[in-house]
């Protein structure tokens, strides 16, 4: 029992105690950002690694969560729903608050929408798509098209969404000054805790009968149908869970990073996260989380040295992992652990 939980407990202590003490605020902020991505990655690990649904459009759900949160932050800054207009609306010549925006003045509604909005869209999309037995590459392309469409929609609605620039200049969250180190440290702790709890919940799900069913759907959808289950339902529910995680990650991302814009949720960021999950190891949930953090760090570290080199390195890493270690970092470490155990036994 203790052995089983030891790795998780160790990581939790490092993340919740050591990191806030040792890292300077700037680095801690970066880590918080990577952990937001890790929450999305966890959802991808569930949907793709366990359920076989290669989703190339998680940025859409991440964005919906992020925009929900950003709308709330903008409204509080502008003096509540009844008060003034957010800055970018003024610049775009919008004169009164659009009806769509009004309910987002309520934090509960905004946070609820950040999670339930993406889940609802995933449920509708999943029902339509999986019932028609669209799968594999077709599903992947469809989700990617969704990400592209989302960007076009956001950019086109300048007055409603801030267009290409998105939304930025957030100053406070629930009365806390976002520029303060203590607020940012608090936010980091919230993000890390949310990730930890979601990881535990997802692991529980994967180890349950439902998780076995999900793997069975991945490996033999038609056979599952003849076991009396509806694979479309299993996939839709799983897809919705992963969308909800991405949405929540987006909502956390906005106060941590201080901006949300179409560039953060289009095709490229969606793909980058899938690459990160592949590098970390999609068959293990921990691999997905690790992949997001490692690739996030690598991107920052590498870009600090060579501004343009990162894209090439990322591509090369992806190809290397796919050809040499399809199970990613998690697979490599597992086989090393297995060999060590074997060596000790003989």
């Amino acid at each position: 029992m203790i052995r089983r939980h030891l790795p998780f407990a160790t990581v939790a202590v490092i993340a919740l105690v050591a990191a806030p003490l040792l890292l300077e605020p700037f680095r801690l902020g970066l880590l918080a950002k990577y952990l937001c991505y890790a929450i999305v990655a966890l959802g991808i690990g569930l949907a793709w690694g366990k359920g076989g649904m290669l989703t190339l459009g998680q940025g859409v759900f991440f964005g919906l969560g992020g925009y929900s949160m950003a709308m709330y932050l903008k409204l509080t800054e502008a003096g509540g729903a009844g008060g003034g207009l957010p800055d970018f609306m003024v610049w775009s010549g919008v004169e009164s608050l659009p009806a769509l925006w009004v309910p987002f003045g309520n934090p509960v509604f905004a946070l609820g929408m950040a999670v339930l909005g993406p889940m609802a869209i995933a449920l509708i999309l999943g029902t339509l798509v999986f019932r028609q037995r669209v799968r594999g590459a077709y599903f992947a392309i469809l989700t990617q098209a969704l990400a592209a469409a989302m960007v076009i929609l956001l950019v086109g609605q300048q007055g409603l969404t801030g267009g290409t620039n998105g939304m930025t200049n957030f100053f406070e969250l629930f009365g806390q000054d976002l520029a303060e180190d203590s607020t940012q440290r608090g936010l980091y702790l919230v993000v890390a805790s949310v990730l930890g709890l979601l990881y535990l919940a997802t692991r529980q799900l994967v180890n349950s009968r439902y998780g076995r069913l999900l793997v069975a759907v991945r490996d033999g959808e038609d056979r599952v149908r003849f076991l009396g289950y509806d694979p479309a339902l299993v996939k839709t529910v799983t897809f919705a869970i992963s969308a909800g995680m991405a949405g929540l990650a987006g909502a956390l991302f906005v106060p941590v990073v201080g901006i949300i814009s179409p560039a953060l949720l289009g095709v490229v960021p969606s793909l980058e996260l899938v690459v990160a999950v592949a590098v970390g190891g999609r068959h293990a949930l921990a691999g997905a989380v690790l992949g997001a953090v490692v690739m996030g760090y690598a991107k920052t570290a590498f870009s600090e040295q060579f501004a343009d080199g990162w894209l090439y390195l990322q591509g090369a890493l992806f190809i290397l992992v796919m050809t040499l270690a399809p199970k990613g970092i998690a697979g490599i470490s597992r086989s090393i652990a297995g060999r060590l155990r074997h060596a000790r036994a003989t």
Partner: protein, 249 residues
């Protein structure tokens, strides 16, 4: 129990089934034979909802099966296996069986961990003789063991009607013998339809046989009646009428 009336299936103008009538009473072990392309598998596909018939009716226990989804038909108590066995290699033998056994539970109740081994799984393990392999990954099973696991998964679902598509194909002699016994055992308390090519196997284990030919039912009767029928000899063995069905290797 199972009643097919005038079932027609047309694939791109080709009549795979051309007016099939078939009645299988409860508790019967029925064998379905016929040359390649006779429509045996298509018939199973129609019963289980994989193929929709162009005309005709399929009634099971009084309910019409045509137009229902595959998983709904399974929930009504009709289980099937496939020619090429599909078991879930990433799961253990017991997990495969458990997955089959829990299909009636609502989805949310599956979010709990499996707690021990259910009665249905225990029974399926014992019947198929896979107890010792219970915790092994299904990926390591031999071909014969996979077929048994699939039959076990079917049993764990406690269906009323089992449809087995060539369960002994590719099996060794011992494995065939073992499977034959298993089928006879299962037929004690289930209705079973077996599609089989293997004449030797048929002679040893079949009681009632239906012969399909070019999408139609040619003959129906006991093994002896069927093998003595000149029409069966003709379609099944080419024109070598002297070579009785029973003598085929």
């Amino acid at each position: 129990m199972l009643e097919l009336r005038d079932v027609q299936v047309i694939f791109d103008g080709f009549r795979a089934l051309d007016g099939v009538d078939l009645t299988v009473p409860e508790g019967e072990l029925r064998f379905l034979i016929g040359p390649n392309g006779a429509g045996k598998t298509t018939l199973i596909d129609v019963i289980t909802g994989l193929t929709r018939p162009a005309a005709g009716s399929v009634r099971f226990g009084g309910a019409d099966l045509v137009g229902r989804k595959e998983h709904e038909i399974v929930r009504m108590g009709v289980g099937r296996t496939f020619q090429t066995s599909v078991v879930f290699e990433a799961l253990t033998v017991i997990e495969n069986l458990d997955l089959a056994a829990t299909f009636r539970k609502p989805l949310w109740s599956l979010t709990r961990r499996r707690d021990g081994v259910s009665e249905a799984v225990e029974e399926a393990l014992a019947r198929t003789g896979l107890e010792e392999l219970a915790e092994r990954s299904a990926g390591v099973l031999s071909h014969g063991q996979r077929q048994w696991l699939e039959i076990g998964m079917l049993l764990a679902q406690r269906p009323k009607l089992l449809l087995l598509d060539e369960p002994v194909a590719g099996m060794s002699k011992d494995e065939r013998e073992r499977t034959g016994e298993l089928l006879t055992e299962i037929a004690d308390d289930h209705t079973v339809i077996v599609v089989e090519h293997d004449m030797d196997f048929l002679r040893r284990h079949a009681s009632v046989v239906t012969v399909l030919h070019e999408g139609k039912v040619l003959v129906e009767g006991s093994v002896d009646e069927v093998s003595a029928d000149p029409r069966v000899q003709e379609v099944y063995l080419g024109r070598r009428a002297g070579d009785a069905v029973g003598n085929r290797p």
